[in-house]
């Protein structure tokens, strides 16, 4: 289970890395971008164990080696884009020839290596020589200039190499026959920034690399976002179907504080419960140390719960464990109250549960 929490910068970055790596590892076979089927989600549901195993493997500090095509998180933006800005101001690296020779692979590796700066574990490696980074940045900027100009320019790219940079600050090469005043330079810089971002998006969206036109790429991106949103809707409907319901009280979601929602016993529904759990899961998991995934120290269920449930304890524990959080207890007490009100005898001693979703299950008439 991944969770993101606003104040935790690094951890949320790492957390966010996990699903990407997980998908990278497993998603290729499952081709997680089968976006347009309604039951794609059903088909490609990850088995829980593998999901959490992947999390476990990632939890050790995001050491996975296949980061070649992992392009970081928004940290990468905050890191990467200022790099470009600083690269603009760095002094000219006189290796004009090397820029031309640098292949796309090198640029992607340098870009990915730069974007990996956000990872703690790689910082020492990658930043061995921030000067070298600046050089890479400068070179990359020039490459981008050369590369980005290609689709746009009518002139052959080779002509650009002959032009010396016009100023010390902005190392954007003027194209032949193009005005070099600051206005159009700024315009060009802006356009290149946009195309850089589009490239990033292209890497983010699966299946986009084959498409070259801007419009086509934007189409793909739009479709992808739409499909993700549809997946969320679909999954929410699925979750709704899976949980029994007593009554809906949407206001209970927003009751006051994030950590301690005002749960009114009797009015909070199971669905509210599970939804809040989802919500809380995002919040609480972010506060977990990543080693909790490894240790899974506190099982959600005490031993006195039904044995069949105990089998999934580990996965539950790793997924939803928020040991010591009072929130769960609050929720559960309310749920417990509701349970009694419904007069359903359940085998689960709810008091022993901490934030477990199991309360839902006994109510299902299977």
């Amino acid at each position: 289970m991944q969770c993101l929490r606003a104040p935790l910068s690094d951890l949320s970055v790492l957390e966010r890395q996990r699903p990407r790596v997980e998908w990278q590892q497993q998603g290729e076979e499952q081709s997680d971008y089968q976006p347009y089927d309604a039951d794609y989600c059903m088909q490609s549901l990850l088995p829980v164990e593998t999901a959490f195993r992947a999390l476990h493997s990632c939890g050790g500090g995001v050491e996975n080696e296949n980061h070649g095509n992992v392009h970081g998180s928004n940290d990468c933006f905050s890191n990467a884009w200022p790099d470009i800005a600083s690269g603009m101001h760095c002094p000219v690296v006189g290796a004009a020839a090397s820029v031309e020779e640098t292949s796309v692979n090198a640029s992607s590796s340098s870009s990915s290596s730069r974007k990996r700066k956000s990872e703690n574990t790689r910082r020492s490696k990658e930043n061995s020589g921030s000067d070298g980074k600046d050089d890479i940045n400068c070179k990359r900027l020039k490459e981008e200039t050369g590369g980005g100009a290609t689709p746009e320019a009518e002139q052959p790219t080779s002509k650009e190499n002959d032009k010396a940079p016009k100023s010390d600050y902005i190392h954007v090469r003027a194209r032949r026959g193009q005005a070099t005043d600051s206005h159009s330079l700024a315009e060009r810089v802006r356009r290149e920034r946009i195309s850089q971002r589009m490239k990033y998006l292209q890497d983010l969206v699966p299946g986009c690399s084959k498409i070259t036109g801007k419009a086509g790429m934007l189409d793909e991106i739009i479709n992808y976002v739409q499909s993700l949103q549809r997946q969320v809707e679909f999954l929410s409907m699925k979750l709704a179907a899976v949980n029994p319901i007593m009554d809906i009280n949407i206001d209970s979601f927003f009751g006051g504080r994030e950590i301690n929602p005002t749960c009114k016993p009797g009015s909070i529904s199971m669905i509210g419960m599970s939804s809040e759990l989802l919500d809380q899961a995002y919040l609480q998991l972010g506060s977990l140390q990543h080693d909790m995934f490894m240790d899974s120290p506190a099982l959600l269920l005490r031993p006195d719960v039904n044995p069949p449930a105990a089998v999934s304890d580990t996965s539950l524990g790793s997924c939803l464990n928020v040991s010591g959080s009072s929130v769960w207890n609050t929720n559960l007490q309310n749920v417990y109250g509701v349970e009694f009100q419904l007069g359903r005898g359940t085998a689960l001693p709810f008091q022993s549960l901490q934030g477990n979703l199991l309360p839902n299950n006994p109510k299902m008439e299977m």
Binding site: A38, C41, L46, I222, L228, I245, F254, L278, Q280
Partner: protein
């Protein structure tokens, strides 16, 4: 779809309308979680605003429209300077569509829009996988019980 199988089992409670409403509740909670759990990004703030408005029952469309009208100029003419007119128009239309998709996108220029889109995509991915794992979990538990 799973619903078809599950529904008869819960017949008194799970007629279609309540199912829809339930799922809407879940979806809202998921969005709330999404908005709260991400870093302070423009889209997450916009999402929070939107959810807050929904909760209070106010139509959020007005604000959106206003913003769009005000900032539509930001998008114009960005992309297709080197390309021909048609392409530029196409691209612009798509950028506008993206603006509508990404929460808070209407206020952003193209460059920022792409940044926010990337972050939004990542967050959506995480949310989807979390929900999927949750659903999987529930299924598994349900099977083990039943």
């Amino acid at each position: 779809m799973d619903n078809q199988d599950v529904r008869p089992l819960f017949s008194p409670e799970s007629d279609h309308a309540s199912l829809v409403e339930r799922s809407r509740g879940i979806k809202m909670a998921a969005e709330v979680g999404l908005a709260r759990s991400s870093r302070d990004r423009h889209w997450s703030r916009a999402l929070r605003r939107r959810l807050l408005l929904l909760r209070r029952g106010t139509a959020s469309d007005d604000c959106g429209c206003q913003n769009e009208a005000l900032t539509s100029s930001k998008v114009g003419g960005d992309m297709g300077v080197g390309a021909n007119e048609e392409e530029a128009v196409e691209v612009e239309a798509r950028v506008r569509a993206l603006q509508r998709l990404v929460p808070g996108g209407e206020e952003l220029g193209t460059e920022r829009l792409f940044e926010e889109t990337a972050d939004y995509i990542e967050a959506l991915r995480v949310q989807v996988s979390a929900m999927r794992a949750l659903a999987c979990l529930l299924d598994e538990l349900r099977e083990r019980r039943g």
